[in-house]
């Protein structure tokens, strides 16, 4: 067994530096790497490029980094829940690349699996297509999109083992699976780090080969963005 275990979030994020590009898992506040984000705030690293579907909310998730102006550029598909972010964007205080959600996911997956670029129909005829190669296949137009390049991926899973094998829960899987393995260093935080041999190999979502460091998060708030209840 090759051990990927590190003992703290600080050890897990060793090497994160100013100006780096980070992939950050999660959809809204669901499945975000809470402990790694808190550590980025503590480290006070600057000029980050964050690739993440959303930008958190004003006081949680990546919103914590935005508030402190640690993020130079965001690459996201939807930022509607974060007012501070929208303000920074409309005032040109932050660089923003908005890209279709499926394209974002595929750009991560491609990086992970050694595909340098791919064609997708999303964004044809829109401002997303500006400056991009368009090619026709079977009578339909597609845009050429490239795999992301990133220094670190910050991933949140439900359970994992020392070998780096991980399992997600519910819709907290989202971007975490495609991003895990897409960066040079892939760091996973889990709610529960279990002894090797405990997880059923049939049920592993991401094999440890895609993971460089794994640790058990100290605590999880798991904030709910829009609590909606049936009467």
């Amino acid at each position: 067994m090759i051990s990927k275990k590190v003992n703290s979030v600080t050890e897990a994020l060793t090497g994160v530096a100013n100006g780096m590009t980070l992939l950050v898992g999660g959809f809204g506040l669901c499945g975000i790497p809470e402990n790694a984000i808190a550590e980025l705030v503590r480290l006070n690293v600057q000029q980050l490029t964050c690739v993440s579907n959303n930008a958190g909310v004003d006081d949680f998730g990546l919103g914590l980094l935005l508030k402190k102006h640690q993020i130079k550029k965001m690459v996201s598909s939807y930022v509607g829940e974060n007012h501070e972010f929208e303000r920074q964007m409309l005032n040109n205080e932050i660089e923003v690349e908005l890209i279709p959600q499926g394209t974002l996911a595929e750009r991560c997956r491609s990086a992970k699996v050694g595909i340098p670029a791919f064609f997708t129909p999303a964004g044809v005829g829109t401002e997303v297509a500006q400056g991009k190669e368009v090619r026709e296949f079977n009578g339909k137009q597609y845009l050429l999109e490239y795999a992301v390049k990133a220094d670190f991926a910050l991933i949140k899973a439900w359970k994992g083992d020392e070998a780096g094998n991980i399992i997600f829960k519910g819709t907290a899987r989202n971007f975490n699976q495609a991003m895990c393995g897409a960066a040079k260093v892939n760091v996973v935080e889990v709610e529960e780090l279990v002894p090797v041999g405990t997880l059923n190999p049939n049920e592993i979502h991401v094999p440890g080969v895609f993971v460089q460091r794994i640790f058990q998060g100290e605590k999880y708030e798991k904030r709910i963005e829009k609590l909606t209840i049936s009467e």
Binding site: C30, P100, A122, T126, T171, K226
Partner: protein, 217 residues
């Protein structure tokens, strides 16, 4: 005029047995409340679930279980979870039978704009560009006019586009229209709404179907 619930109700009659359906945020989400009896459909949410059920009771709330609108949800028997990449694989690969989404503007050739008002509002396109670029069957659910009373059915969209030549059907508070040969075709009017009135609040070219009838709600 139709309420938002009635727009959703009308759209629900387009559901067919065996359909996998993606519902956008807003009025489209309400469609799930009106699935006709006797048919089975499965709702997909692009953040990674097929087989979405109703909102949870207080006791059943799970922070790890939300829809693409970030609302807490439940799953039904037969549901499955997957990651964002596979979710959009389902969408691009045309395994989803129907997409219902909202819009700020629709043009008479089927273009749609719903993600950005330059200088004012930038929320992002989310999954909408992927959905409209790939779906065969797209229904737009929206009000016929904006808050200023201006038509949202236009000759050409003025806002940044989400997709081109993709909208097939539009259900508004005033009626049901399709996009045919570069025009809006009025097929159903909402109860107590006249054709002349619909014409007066539709900026795009509008033809009236010879079979145009009053909508059953």
């Amino acid at each position: 005029m139709l309420t938002k619930e009635q727009i959703a109700q009308r759209i629900s009659r387009e559901l067919q047995d065996g359909f996998y359906v993606n519902l956008g945020i807003g009025i489209p989400t309400l469609v799930a409340n009106y699935v006709p009896n006797g048919i089975n459909v499965e709702f997909q949410s692009e953040n990674g679930v097929l087989g979405m059920g109703p909102f949870p009771t207080k006791e059943a709330v799970d922070a790890d279980l939300i829809n693409a609108g970030k609302q807490t949800i439940t799953t039904l028997p037969g549901a499955s979870f997957f990651d964002s990449e596979l979710s959009f694989g389902m969408i691009r690969g045309q395994h989803i039978d129907l997409t219902v989404l909202g819009a700020m503007e629709v043009s008479q050739n089927g273009d749609i704009a719903n993600w950005k008002i330059p200088g004012k509002m930038v929320k992002g396109m989310g999954g909408a560009m992927d959905l409209v670029a790939s779906a065969e069957n797209i229904i737009v659910a929206m009000m016929h006019t904006n808050r200023a009373g201006q038509s949202k059915l236009l000759k050409q969209c003025s806002l940044p586009l989400t997709g081109i030549n993709c909208v097939k059907t539009i259900v508004t508070n005033l009626g049901l229209l399709t996009v045919e040969n570069g025009k809006f075709l009025l097929k159903e009017t909402a109860p107590e709404v006249g054709i002349e009135y619909i014409k007066s609040v539709t900026e795009g070219d509008l033809a009236v179907s010879p079979d145009c009838k009053t909508m059953l709600i």
